[in-house]
């Protein structure tokens, strides 16, 4: 059952991820991105990280992608990307594809060479899925990871200040 689910999700994910980077129209890209996020949430469920699956949808699909969509709507960006012009990192464009494909192949060739350990570990019962529950994660977060948690607060504060400083119309 899980194997089938994985294959289906993987195919959808690959398709939509490819669509994200190939669409000319940003809105289509965003919607495919949301689909990709959804599939990732599915993988997280398969991996027992159910709380993170919910957070994935709340944060990525419900906030980050909405922000993207919001910007596209607000700026009313309906023109497709220009054909001319240089890329972000000024290297020959086919080299970009080559790097991407090369990175993929290097990882693939290694990983595919050995079957790899079974996941989930075979000697576990249902309790191996308990780790991803909100209460387990919370216990770890609020004992061992208390410092990163407070730092995250400061990071978010920095983001608030930065966004206001950059986007506020009148500076007072």
């Amino acid at each position: 059952m899980q194997g089938v689910m994985f294959i289906v999700l993987a195919l959808v994910t690959l398709f939509s991820a490819l669509m994200v980077i190939t669409r000319k129209d940003p809105v289509s890209s965003i919607l495919y991105l949301v689909l990709t996020f959804f599939c990732f949430a599915g993988f997280y469920v398969l991996l027992g990280a159910q709380f993170l699956a919910a957070v994935q949808i709340i944060v990525y699909a419900g906030a980050i992608a909405v922000l993207f969509l919001f910007v596209v709507m607000m700026l009313n960006l309906r023109e497709p990307e220009a054909e001319e012009g240089k890329e972000l990192i000024p290297i020959w464009k086919p080299l970009g594809y080559a790097v991407g494909i090369g990175v993929g192949i290097v990882f693939l060739s290694y990983l595919a060479s050995s079957p790899g350990p079974a996941i989930p570990p075979l000697n576990g019962g249902d309790e191996i899925y308990a780790m991803g529950r909100a209460d387990f994660l919370g216990k770890a977060l609020f004992t061992d990871f208390i410092l990163p948690f407070e730092i995250a607060g400061v990071l978010l504060l920095a983001a608030v200040l930065g966004a206001v400083a950059l986007a506020k119309k009148k500076r007072v």
């Binding site: 419900g62 709507m73 529950r133």
Partner: protein, 361 residues
């Protein structure tokens, strides 16, 4: 050779499919009559009759067949897609709105277990541990349908309406999340079935009595999320024609409407579950071995509670005036969010005090 576990899981799937379809049909029926109910209530409040003609032959039956007539009309209308619209997104938008509302159904406990044909069946589609979080996650997707509709129509009113709705919905989503945090502090779990069971017993076990402020905040944000009056600025007809669905007609418009009512109906169920004991009856203990009768009663109890909130939705709509846009953001960010944070601290502080003095909270 058939593996026993596969047979088991097939049985599980069949059972769940039946439950899902059953619940979906009930929800659809309620939604269909909610549309009629709304017009009846509007009529009553405005001292007129409301729709009362659609019946069988000469028997008008107070218009109870009106939803069927409406539905048929939606089906038979021309399916217009404006020339300048983005065709795919234009069609996808209402679908998405409806789906995002309907998906909420999966986590709500509509009733206790019932025993049919010797098999114990839970009247809840998925008794997942995430419960509240699942609903919040799905709820956060509601903006897409509206944003897509506003974008795809390629009409200024639609785009403006879409943007307004999105910024309204996201602002109140935070209020909703914060209100539910206080609730989760108390119950210690996001699983809805457990929250319901914790509320059984005397009526003061209902969360609404321990979280009055949280309930109020949550209810207000639900109004905003469903973009109901007094939060229906997105479709403020005197400013924006019909907002994001200006260009929509036929069943695609129908799905937007249907989505709104589904959202409202399921939100009412959610409120009843979270704050009003769900399918439990005050002072009646949850039986160890529930039979068919108990299952049906619990199912009915939840719907009675939910219908009450659905009624309040309609009542408010025809009673209160609409907010101005700036007032709406002002209310959300400067009043409700600070209040919600205060509520969380209040709840947490009280629980700490109770723990310290050994009172079971």
């Amino acid at each position: 050779m058939l593996d026993l576990s596969i047979v088991m899981s097939m049985a599980f799937l069949v059972e769940k499919s039946i439950v899902t379809v059953f619940i979906f049909i009930v929800v659809l029926a309620v939604v269909a009559y909610a549309t009629l109910g709304e017009r009846k209530i509007a009529g009553y409040l405005q001292d007129r009759h409301g729709p009362n003609r659609a019946g069988i032959g000469k028997h008008k039956l107070w218009g109870i067949l009106q939803p069927i007539a409406d539905g048929t009309k939606f089906f038979m209308k021309e399916d217009i897609i404006p020339d300048k619209a983005n065709k795919i997104l234009f069609v996808l938008a209402p679908t998405f709105t409806f789906c995002a509302a309907g998906f909420i159904m999966a986590a709500i406990p509509f009733g206790d277990r019932i025993t049919i044909f010797g098999r114990e069946v839970l009247l809840q589609i998925a008794d997942i541990n995430l419960g509240i979080l699942y609903i919040l996650a799905i709820g956060s997707l509601g903006v897409y349908g509206i944003a897509m509709g506003g974008w795809a129509s390629n009409n200024k009113y639609s785009l403006m309406g879409g943007l307004r709705t999105v910024s309204q919905m996201i602002s109140y989503e935070i209020v909703m999340g914060l209100a539910l945090v206080a609730l989760m502090i108390d119950h210690g779990t996001p699983a809805l079935r457990q929250i319901v069971i914790q509320q059984s017993g005397p009526i003061w076990h209902w969360s609404v009595f321990s979280h009055p402020l949280g309930f109020l905040l949550f209810y207000i944000s639900v109004f905003a999320e469903c973009s109901r009056m007094p939060f229906d600025l997105p479709e403020a007809e005197n400013e924006l024609v019909a907002g994001y669905h200006t260009e929509y007609s036929s069943m695609k418009f129908g799905l937007f409407q249907f989505g709104e009512y589904t959202h409202m109906t399921l939100a009412s169920c959610f409120i009843a579950t979270l704050y009003f004991g769900g399918w439990t009856i005050p002072w009646v203990a949850v039986p160890e071995n529930p039979g068919l009768i108990w299952g049906i009663i619990s199912f009915g109890v939840l719907w009675i509670k939910a219908l009450f909130f659905l009624f309040v939705f309609m009542w408010v709509r025809w009673t209160l005036p609409r907010f101005r846009y700036d007032q709406l953001l002002y209310l959300g960010w400067k009043k409700l969010i600070p209040l919600a944070i205060f509520n969380i601290f209040l709840t947490a502080g009280l629980i700490l005090l109770f723990q310290k003095f050994g009172i079971a909270g």
